[in-house]
């Protein structure tokens, strides 16, 4: 139980303040309160959905200001009538940065009329999430300002995440949506497509901007070009088969995605990886974070026309790739993590290699710092550009360096330590105004802090196995499989049956490079998860982008998007 152990004991379980307050306020409209692996889940009636969310947000004892995630779940059950009555679940995840607690709020909708009132009036971030739930599950959110398809093509037929939608079904959809917004016929403004393939768009996504000279008068974003429905694929894979898919989420720091996934599944299973595996995970996660920040800063300044810092910083990224290569043989999509540990032990000269890479990172961070931080052209491009206030950032569901840039010191590693982060001493940098410059400074400082963590983890690196000794979770070593009948049988059983977790649902979350990366797993006890929902940090972050650049200059839009570090693989899943 990686992250569950850190829940404050006084406020946990069904007597947690959130449950108490909702029970008192909603009375019979509160259907049930559950606590599984330390996750508090509250189910309310549909009529009380908006009221419950508002209460959670505004009640001083609860203060769930940070919108994390909203998703649909299809609980289709052919055997019972009840399955049809409560077929669709809408699941909301919230967090309170003041009280440091999570909550999961659920409601259900029948198959015949899957209507749920919208939460867009409560949380800004709910907008795209509800569109996604409509798109993938066909849940109608009444009152939503623009309930259109988000991830799939607008001519797509059906709702792909429904359990009765065949996994292998294909659509060929070619014609793009030409116009994303209405432009008055007599408008003198210029409609410009920025993306899906444009040098400033890191990945394939599209912003259509109505230009008034150099100023963006209005704009609309379109995503989904990279959508491959990872979540549907996950429903027909075993738990460890999903690991390679997670690499493709935020491919700039793929190790961290696998780390988060493994922790979420371990939380569901109620096991913990051995200390050595956890320490190596921390080290490689921190290197991945550095790598991701290098890409964020490097490409951001390339967008501003400064090409040298990019090359300076990418040298260190190359060194980190070599380190990963030495550990697992892959550079970009590492798939190094296993449920319950790691695929194999690190090479013998691991510490020396890490020290070399650390030195190189330190060098390039200092050099980039010298080239950029006090460069007047750079600061004039970044200061007071794309400022995002604290409350607004929370309402959009911002996390990670972007949220910290806006002045909220929320870091999962600090507030809900996992994988042994509590042993390491590090600081959480925060910004003041939340502009591009603050986000840049936060990332620069986080790289230094990551080096501190790696240094401590290397000093304490324990010896021992790197995967749990549990034949229901981890494959036995190959040498035993070939020499020992019991190991062979265990191997066979595990490959054939898969890991079988108990029924239940968990929300496992880690601090990814872009912020809280969550996996919401619904298990029915089978070898395949019933539902996997990724809570992608940059989905929330990018959602705010159109409103941030309206009224800004075109060049500012370019400066802002780089600093948000939107990764299409994670955005579109």
């Amino acid at each position: 139980m990686a992250s569950a152990t850190q829940e404050p004991p006084a406020a946990s379980g069904v007597e947690a303040p959130a449950a108490r307050v909702l029970r008192a306020e909603l009375g019979p409209q509160l259907r049930s309160v559950a606590d599984f692996r330390g996750d508090l889940a509250i189910t309310v009636e549909r009529d009380a959905w908006v009221r419950a969310a508002s209460l959670l947000r505004d009640h001083p004892q609860l203060d769930f200001k940070l919108f994390l995630d909203l998703c649909g779940v299809d609980q289709l059950d052919d055997d019972t009538d009840e399955g049809l009555r409560d077929r669709y679940e809408v699941v909301l995840h919230l967090y309170s940065v003041t009280h440091k607690h999570h909550v999961r709020l659920k409601t259900t909708a029948p198959e015949a009329a899957p209507d749920v009132p919208t939460l867009t009036g409560v949380y800004k971030g709910a907008n795209w999430f509800e569109r996604e739930a409509w798109d993938l599950y066909g849940i109608r959110f009444t009152g939503h300002p623009k309930l259109e398809r988000l991830l799939t093509h607008d001519a797509f037929v059906g709702h792909p995440m429904r359990k009765d939608y065949p996994v292998g079904q294909r659509h060929v959809l070619k014609s793009p949506k030409v116009q994303l917004m209405d432009v008055p016929a007599d408008s003198e403004h210029l409609l410009v497509n920025i993306g899906p393939s444009h040098p400033a768009m890191h990945g394939t996504f599209r912003v259509q901007a109505l230009m008034d000279g150099e100023t963006i008068a209005a704009c609309e974003a379109e995503i989904g070009y990279m959508h491959r429905n990872f979540e549907k694929m996950a429903e027909v894979r075993t738990y460890w088969q999903i690991i390679p898919y997670t690499d493709r989420l935020n491919y700039c720091s793929s190790f961290m995605n696998g780390h988060g996934w493994a922790l979420a599944v371990e939380k569901l299973l109620g096991i913990q990886a051995p200390p050595r595996a956890e320490a190596v995970r921390v080290i490689l996660s921190e290197f991945s974070r550095i790598m991701d920040h290098i890409i964020a800063i490097g490409t951001n300044v390339v967008d501003l026309g400064a090409i040298t810092p990019f090359f300076v910083m990418f040298r260190a990224r190359e060194d980190i790739y070599e380190l990963l290569d030495a550990c697992c043989g892959a550079r970009l999509t590492v798939s190094y993590v296993r449920i319950g540990g790691l695929a194999q032990d690190v090479p013998e000269d691991f510490e020396a290699r890490c020290r070399r890479v650390m030195k190189s990172v330190q060098e390039v961070v200092d050099q980039a710092d010298g080239l950029l931080t006090r460069n007047p052209i750079f600061t004039s491009r970044f200061k007071d550009v794309g400022a995002m206030g604290k409350d607004e950032a929370l309402s959009w569901g911002w996390v990670g360096p972007c949220l910290r840039g806006s002045g909220v010191a929320y870091d999962v590693r600090k507030d809900h330590p996992y994988s042994g982060y509590e042993q390491y001493d590090f600081d959480v940098p925060v910004g003041t105004v939340g502009d591009c410059y603050d986000r840049y400074l936060v990332r620069m400082e986080e790289m230094r802090q990551s080096l501190r963590i790696i240094d401590q983890a290397l000093r304490k690196l324990p010896s021992g196995p790197v995967i749990v000794d549990d034949k229901k979770v981890a494959l036995p070593p190959k040498s035993e499989v070939y020499s020992n009948i019991e190991a062979l049988m265990n191997h066979f059983k595990l490959v054939y049956d898969g890991i079988l977790p108990p029924p239940g649902e968990v929300y496992g979350y880690t601090e990814g490079a872009n912020g809280e990366l969550g996996y919401y797993i619904v298990s029915r006890g089978a070898k395949h998860p019933w539902r996997v929902k990724v809570r992608p940090p940059c989905f929330n972050i990018y959602q705010a982008f159109p409103s941030m650049i309206t009224g800004a200059l075109l060049a500012d839009a370019v400066a802002i998007i780089g600093g948000l570090n939107v990764i299409a693989g994670e955005l579109d899943r």
């Binding site: 210029l190 409609l191 410009v192 444009h198 040098p199 400033a200 230009m211 150099e214 300044v301 390339v302 967008d303 501003l304 026309g305 400064a306 090409i307 040298t308 990019f310 090359f311 300076v312 040298r315 080239l371 950029l372 460069n375 052209i377 750079f378 004039s380 491009r381 200059l553 075109l554 060049a555 500012d556 370019v558």
Partner: protein
Amino acid sequence: MSGLSDHWAGLSPVAQQFWIAVLKVAVIFNVLLGLFSFMTYAERRLLAFMQFRLGPNRTGPFGVLQPIADGIKLFFKEEVIPEGANRWVFVAAPAVAVVAAFLSIAVVPYGGPGLFQIADLEVGILYLFAISSLGVYAIVMAGWAANNKFTMLGGLRSAAQMFSYELALGLSWVGLIMLAGSFRIQDIVTAQKGGLGLLNWFCVVQFPAFIVYLIAATAEVNRTPFDLPEAETELVAGFHTEYSSMRFALLQMAEYVNMITVAAVGTSLFLGGWLSPLPLLPDSPLWFFVKFGLLLFFFIWLRGTLPRFRYDQLMHFGWKVLVPVATLWILVTAGLVTAGVPGFRR
């Protein structure tokens, strides 16, 4: 050989002048072409070294034949004229760009009066000013004719940018004209001759004007940090997005030749042209090329160091900083010249 010299002697002085001019144009034109291709190579290599890369190093020794390979490749590329483009303007724009770029080099002196200059015009500086304004037409034409929104934005940006910075560029020369008392560039170079060597150069005497010139010249040739017209991350490739093959090469050539021109002009006007930096050493065209090379390096160095301005910052900087500074400095120079301060005496 003797036949040729007899023939030469038999020509009238006007005809002799004509043939000399033709020869000079031919030589300098070809040297410029060579220099342009060498600059593409030098820029890529130097930038690469600044960025821990190697740059092109496979074609010929140290990769020096890379520009030739690039040229051959560009010749054989398909020329695409986008649908809906204005054909004539689209085709004419690169030609205008190149012609405008090559014309201004005519008045730059590489050495003392006589052989080392194509045209020793009485109004050389005014000529430069006039010709350098032509380049913007090419960019606006290219941006507009392609019928593409990004090229149009790029064309408009550069029109605004070049108008603004041309003003500062011209103002930075006024002080020199006052000190030299002439519009002839040859006179301005010789006016920088004195007992103190490089301390007599206008880059020292007219230091603020020199800085204004460097900044305005960088903006004039659209190089980092003023490369907004082709800011690739905002405008894809700006005004030359739709160009391909040799027309693209011509636009590139125009840019490099413009850079060569502003470096050559800067060398003549501010760095003493062909004068030697130390009083003891003889003056020679060699000095010209050393200083000229340093200025070219400076432009590449800038590109390796700085990010790009934002459009509104660029306009503010041009109109609210550069133009006032240049104007103020003209007043100061005029005052000093009138008062007869040493160093400001004609």
